[in-house]
């Protein structure tokens, strides 16, 4: 068992409130920090001589959305497989909800819900059968089962289709059904392995609105992997993983700060006058190129309106460039996302995706 530091949230708030200097966000952060729900220590997973995960350590706190971002084959799914007790770690330790994943797999399994990268529904059964069977296998009593199934179907907007065969569902509906299923046994952590892979951009956004709604209503801890940079932005914290190692771990904002400031490029009627004005009013040193002014600020979106309001010179053109997680990855590894290697099981996976799309 993990030793948990028991700090009562109310106690912290009372104390800090009397000081009157802490922000609510800081307090919430402190409370959540005290409860780590996943703890991984020096995890290593080898397949023969190939090291898929090499010496990875991190913690996930209760209630946060934690993302694993990295190219395909970086070791994301392998790490998840170790956490969900499918794969035995070669060395290192991992705890989930206080249980050791090697020593107490049963307790770990009861604490988690999983949505796999590949579909794992029974297409020849109805939606409700898939959910009921899941509930029985997790040994949930009938009353709780029916209640939870109704709640999840409603939350994922699938109630009307519950008696239809899953093979008649669209890709997005199947994903929603899988998310619903993963939550029927009331897990502490929901694992989403590439939750939107193989879906079109519109459906991807749609799935995310459902995940957001879920977070809002349940306060669930979500652990997700993705190789879509824009999706990683939805996480509270991100671990960037490459070749089996975590190369950075922080909030999306902080990660992006590693790359640099926001850059505003500006063209005006009178660049010299504008430049002087900005320097005087904001105290920012700026560079002037041939026909444009370039300035670096930390919070571009808030700065641009201020800039427009305060400048008396007419502005012809203004652009804001913000670093993305893509840039972070590029800076850290020196390259963009790698292409997937296709081994036998990968070929089978691709075939299955084609098969699924066709229907």
């Amino acid at each position: 068992m993990l030793l948990k530091v028991a700090i009562k949230p109310t106690y912290i708030i009372e104390r800090f409130d009397s000081c009157g200097i802490y922000l609510v966000g800081d307090i919430l952060r402190l409370i959540s920090m005290s409860n780590s729900i996943i703890r991984v220590e020096n995890l290593v997973k080898k397949f023969n001589s190939f090291e898929a995960v090499s010496d990875v350590s991190f913690e996930v706190f209760e209630g946060e959305t934690f993302g694993f971002l990295g190219p395909n084959g970086a070791g994301k799914t392998t790490t998840i497989n170790a956490l969900v007790t499918i794969a035995k770690p070669t060395s290192g330790k991992a705890y989930l909800n206080g249980f050791n994943v090697v020593e107490n797999p049963g307790d770990v399994r009861r604490s988690i819900g999983i949505v796999f990268q590949d579909p794992s529904l029974d297409e020849r059964l109805t939606a409700i059968d898939n959910l009921q069977f899941h509930g029985i296998i997790y040994n949930i009593d009938k009353q709780t089962r029916n209640k939870n199934i109704a709640t999840m179907l409603d939350m994922m907007k699938l109630t009307e289709r519950q008696n239809d065969l899953v093979r008649t569902f669209s890709g997005g509906m199947k994903r929603r059904l899988e998310i619903a299923r993963g939550l029927i046994h009331e897990p502490k952590v929901l694992f989403l392995d590439e939750p939107t892979i193989g879906l079109d951009p519109q459906t991807r956004n749609y799935i995310w609105t459902y995940i957001d709604r879920l977070k809002e209503r349940t306060g669930l801890t979500i652990f997700l992997t993705t190789h879509y940079m824009d999706e990683a932005e939805n996480c509270d914290r991100i671990a960037i993983i490459d070749e089996g190692k975590i190369i950075a771990l922080d909030t999306p904002e902080n990660l992006k700060k590693m790359v640099g400031e926001n850059i505003i490029t500006l063209k005006t009627e009178d660049n010299d006058k504008a430049k002087k004005e900005i320097q005087d009013k904001f105290g920012i040193s700026l560079k002037q190129r041939a026909d444009a002014i370039r300035l670096e600020v930390s919070d571009g979106e808030k700065f641009v309106p201020k800039l427009i309001k305060e400048t008396t010179v007419n502005i012809d053109y203004i652009s804001l460039w913000k670093p993305t997680l893509d840039d972070v990855f590029l800076k850290l590894t020196g390259r963009a996302i790698r292409e997937e290697k296709a081994d036998a099981s990968e070929q089978m996976r691709q075939r299955s995706r084609m098969w699924i799309k066709r229907r």
Binding site: F116, L125, H134
Partner: protein
């Protein structure tokens, strides 16, 4: 994880097999086509050869055995796909023992195979074989035993298979030899030595022998029914045990 919970797990896996089977009615019909072709075309052809022992009546129990064999193996091998892209993947991370999963799967596959076998058995009156309730109960018990044995054997083969590529190999080196060496289509008495050893090592041989003497009478028996039954029961116990162990030790 208590016994009750695991029994529920096995029950769900079993129920799922039956529900899947029931939903896909076109497949039920099409999977009957092959045994019917064998029975009526091959059977009629064989009866023209001259030997009174051959013919539709003789191969009828063999065709039931074949139906049990093919349905069972297909059901077992489906775990390869199911484990990567199906419900089994999710079952394997549930807090339910692998033993329950393997037994549930073997029981489910066996039940489906039994239904398929029974559909062939319904043709008995057209072939001139008389059935009564006692014979029927005997036949069902034997069919279940055969189907359960072969399902367990199929699980052993499938559990370490990583891709469906191996399926063709299973067909050629496992399924067809088992079928042809079982005495389903021709008598196995007076076969040359090397062939008769292979025939005797094949569990389906004893299954077909058992079905045949139950349906047609003791004069067609090759082995004693107790020997057949004993062999099949031992085989079933060993096969399901090995399957369970392999299920438990596979990542």
């Amino acid at each position: 994880m208590n016994i009750n919970h695991n029994a529920k797990g096995a029950y769900v896996i079993w129920l799922r097999e039956l529900k899947r089977y029931w939903v896909d009615k076109p497949r039920i019909i099409s999977s009957l086509a092959q045994p019917l072709l064998f029975l009526f075309i091959l059977g009629t052809g064989l009866s023209r050869i001259g030997s009174s022992k051959l013919g539709i009546e003789f191969i009828f129990p063999g065709i039931i055995g074949m139906t049990l064999l093919f349905t069972s193996i297909f059901s077992a091998v489906s775990i390869v796909w199911d484990r990567e892209f199906g419900f089994l993947k999710e079952v394997l991370v549930a807090p339910v023992s692998r033993t329950a999963v393997a037994i549930g799967k073997a029981l489910g596959g066996a039940s489906v195979a039994m239904i398929q076998g029974t559909l062939i058995l319904l043709l008995a009156p057209f072939i001139g074989v008389v059935l009564n309730p006692i014979i029927l109960i005997k036949l069902w018990s034997f069919m279940f035993l055969i189907a359960f044995s072969i399902n367990s054997l199929g699980l052993i083969v499938a559990v370490r298979m990583k891709t469906m590529e191996g399926f063709q190999m299973v067909m050629n080196f496992f399924l067809f030899p088992m079928f042809l060496l079982s005495g389903a289509l021709f008598p196995i008495t007076s076969l040359p030595g090397w062939l008769s050893y292979l025939v005797r090592a094949n569990p389906l041989t004893y299954g077909v022998d058992l079905l045949r003497q139950t349906l047609l009478g003791p004069h067609v028996a090759v082995f004693s029914p107790y020997f057949d039954l004993g062999f099949l029961i031992c085989f079933a116990i060993i096969a399901i045990s090995v399957a369970v162990i392999m299920f438990r030790t596979t990542e």
